[in-house]
Amino acid sequence: VTLLAQRRPDVLALSALAREAASQPLPALDWEGIESRLFDRIAESASLETDAPAARVSRSSRSVLAAALAAAALALLVLRGATPSQSRVGPAASDDWMTAGDAPAELTDDGLVKLRLAPGSALRIVSWRRGESMLVALLRGSIHAEVVPRPGGEAFAVEVARTRVAVHGTSFDVTRSGDEAIVAVGRGSVAVGPAGHPGETEGWLVVAPERAAFSLDGASSARWLAPINVRLPAAPPTAAEPTTAAAAVRPPPPGAARPASARALPLVEPPPIAPEPRPVEAAPAPSEPEPAVLSREVATTTLVLGIRQCYERQLATSNVAFSVHSTLALSIAADGAVQQGVFAPPLSPTLTACAAQALGRMRFERSSSTWERKVSVDLSPPGRAD
C-alpha cells in the first residue's frame, strides 16, 4: 500500500472490492461437456478443411489453376478463360471452380449476378443456369455478389460447407472464416440456413447494413457483428434504394411466418407531439401495403428493433448519450392489429412518436380475442472508445 493509496481511501476501497471479487469462486462447469464439444468441433473443422483440396484435385485436369494464374495476372479471372456470356448456353457444367490469385477475380452473368472473388479465395460452381440461377460453394476466402433483383424466387445462393446464403436481389459479401461464414449485407436482405433446400432457404434473415457470423453446420448458430456502418443514415432510404433498417430476426417456430416477412420498419421522421406521456396510438400508414402478419415472437422482436432504430436515430442526432429502460404494454386486437401501447416509464415525445410509427406498420397473428403482452425495452449507447 503506497503513500498515495493511503491518501486515497477510494483507491483502498477499490482494492478491497477487487480482492473480494477475485475471491469469488468460479461457477461449476461441465468440463466433460466442454471438452467433448470442443473436440467435436475441431474434428468437424478438420474435415471441412479437407473438402476444399479434394475439390481442387478433382478439377486439376482442366488446368483451372493455370487459367486462374493467367487471369489473375490480368486482374480478371473467368473460368476456362471465357466470359459466361460468351461461352455458356443452357445449364452450366457443375463442379467448375474458380480461384483468385493476388488479384480479385470476377465472373458476370448479365441479368443475374456479378461476382467478385477476393484475392486468395476459391469457389466451386455447383449449378448454373445462365441468366436464371446460380449456386456456388465458397471454399475459402471471400466473395462479393451483386445480384439483380428477381421476383421469381432465389436467383443466387452461396453455400459455405453446410450453410446456405440465399438472395433474391441484393448486394452482399460472404467470407469463410475458420468455422464460420461471415455475411455482410450492403443492400437488401439475405436468408441464411441449411444447405440442400434450393428455393426454400429458411432460417436467419440478415438485413442491410447488418453483418453476422454463422456456423457452417447449416447456420444452427449465429452471432451478430457490428455493422460496417453503425450509424443509420440521416435521410430515409428512397424507393429505388431499398436499404432497410437494422433487423435481426431469429428463426421462427414451426409453422410461423417466414423470417423474410419480418420487413424492416421505415425511417420516418416522427411528427412533433405534446410532451406529456400518453398511450401510443397505432397509426396506420394508408400509402403503405398491408402490414406483414408476423408470429408473436417475430413481431415482438421486430417491434423492439423498430424502437431501437428510433433510439439510434435520436442518439445519432443528440449530443447526449442516454439509455432507455422501459416496459411496453401492448394491447393487441383479435385481428392482430396493435390497439394501444403504453410505455412505463414514458419515453421522450420524439421516441414515443417514432415508436408509434413502428406499431402502425405491423400486425400479429390472428387470435380468438384481444390479448396483451409486455415487452421490456433496454437500450444503451454502444461502449465508448477508449
Binding site: 476501497a13 482494492s15 478491497a16 462447469l29 475441431i42 475458420g178 451478430w224 416496459t327 415487452v375
Partner: protein, 216 residues
C-alpha cells in the same frame, strides 16, 4: 518447463492427445479469466470452448517468443472482447416480462447478503467502463497481473496500460461515490486509522471492515 514445451510442440504437430493435455492443464485459468472478463450474463462454457478452439487453430503461429500462458491469455482476452463487441451490436431485447417472478425465499446471513450486493454493484460499475480500461482493470486488480504482462496481452505499451489503469480507477472511484452501497463501504476507509490498519494487516478486507465498525 520442458514437459510443457514438449506438450505444446506435440500439439502444434497435430497430436490431439497432447492438445487434450494442454486443455486439461490450462482450462481452469482460462475459465477464471473468461468468468471475470465476460460479464455475468455470458456463457462461460461456450467461451472457454471458443478460446481453446482458437488456440487449436492458431497454435501453429505461436513461436515461443512469449510465455505460452501470456499468449493463451491474449487469445482469451481477444475472444471475450469479440464476444462482448458482438453482444453490444445486437438488440438487447429481454422479451416478454414474466409477471409471476417470485423473490428468492432463502435467507442469507447479513454479511453475505451485504457482500454479494456490494459485489453485484461493483461488477455493474466495472461493466460500464470502456472496454480497454475495463480489461486492464480486471487483469491487474482482479487477476493480479503485472502491467508488463498485461501490455503483452493487450498489445499496448506498458505506459498505456498504466494510463488506462489510472483512468479506470478514477472512473470507478467517481462512480462508486454515486452508489450508496459502495459509498458506505468506501467511507470505512476514510475513518482515522483505517489506512494504517490496512497497511499493516494481512487481510485488508477484514481490517477495513473492522475499521468501519464491525460490519463484517
Amino acid at each position: 518447463v520442458p514437459d510443457a514445451d514438449d506438450t505444446i510442440a506435440r500439439s502444434k504437430g497435430g497430436d490431439q492427445g497432447a492438445f487434450r493435455q494442454l486443455f486439461a492443464r490450462h482450462r481452469a485459468e482460462v475459465a477464471r479469466l473468461v468468468y471475470r472478463m465476460a460479464g455475468a450474463d455470458a456463457d462461460v462454457e461456450d467461451l472457454v470452448q471458443e478460446v481453446f478452439f482458437q488456440v487449436h487453430r492458431s497454435l501453429k503461429d505461436f513461436r515461443g517468443q512469449s510465455k505460452f500462458t501470456t499468449w493463451l491469455h491474449r487469445v482469451t482476452v481477444n475472444v471475450v472482447l469479440m464476444h462482448r463487441r458482438a453482444a453490444r451490436s445486437r438488440p438487447q431485447l429481454v422479451g416478454p416480462q414474466a409477471d409471476d417472478v417470485q423473490p428468492d425465499p432463502r435467507i442469507l446471513p447479513d454479511e453475505d447478503a451485504a457482500r454479494l450486493e456490494r459485489l453485484r454493484v461493483f461488477a455493474r460499475l466495472i461493466d460500464a467502463l470502456p472496454e480497454k480500461k475495463r480489461a486492464v482493470f480486471i487483469l491487474h486488480e482482479i487477476e493480479g497481473m503485472a502491467p508488463s504482462e498485461i501490455a503483452k496481452i493487450v498489445a499496448a505499451p506498458v505506459l498505456t496500460v498504466r494510463t488506462r489503469l489510472f483512468y479506470a480507477r478514477r472512473e470507478l472511484a467517481d462512480r462508486m461515490r454515486l452508489e450508496p452501497v459502495l459509498a458506505t463501504f468506501a467511507d470505512g476507509f476514510r475513518r482515522p486509522g483505517a489506512a494504517e490498519t490496512l497497511a499493516l494487516g494481512a487481510d485488508p478486507i477484514a481490517r477495513a471492515a473492522k475499521a468501519m465498525g464491525g460490519a463484517r
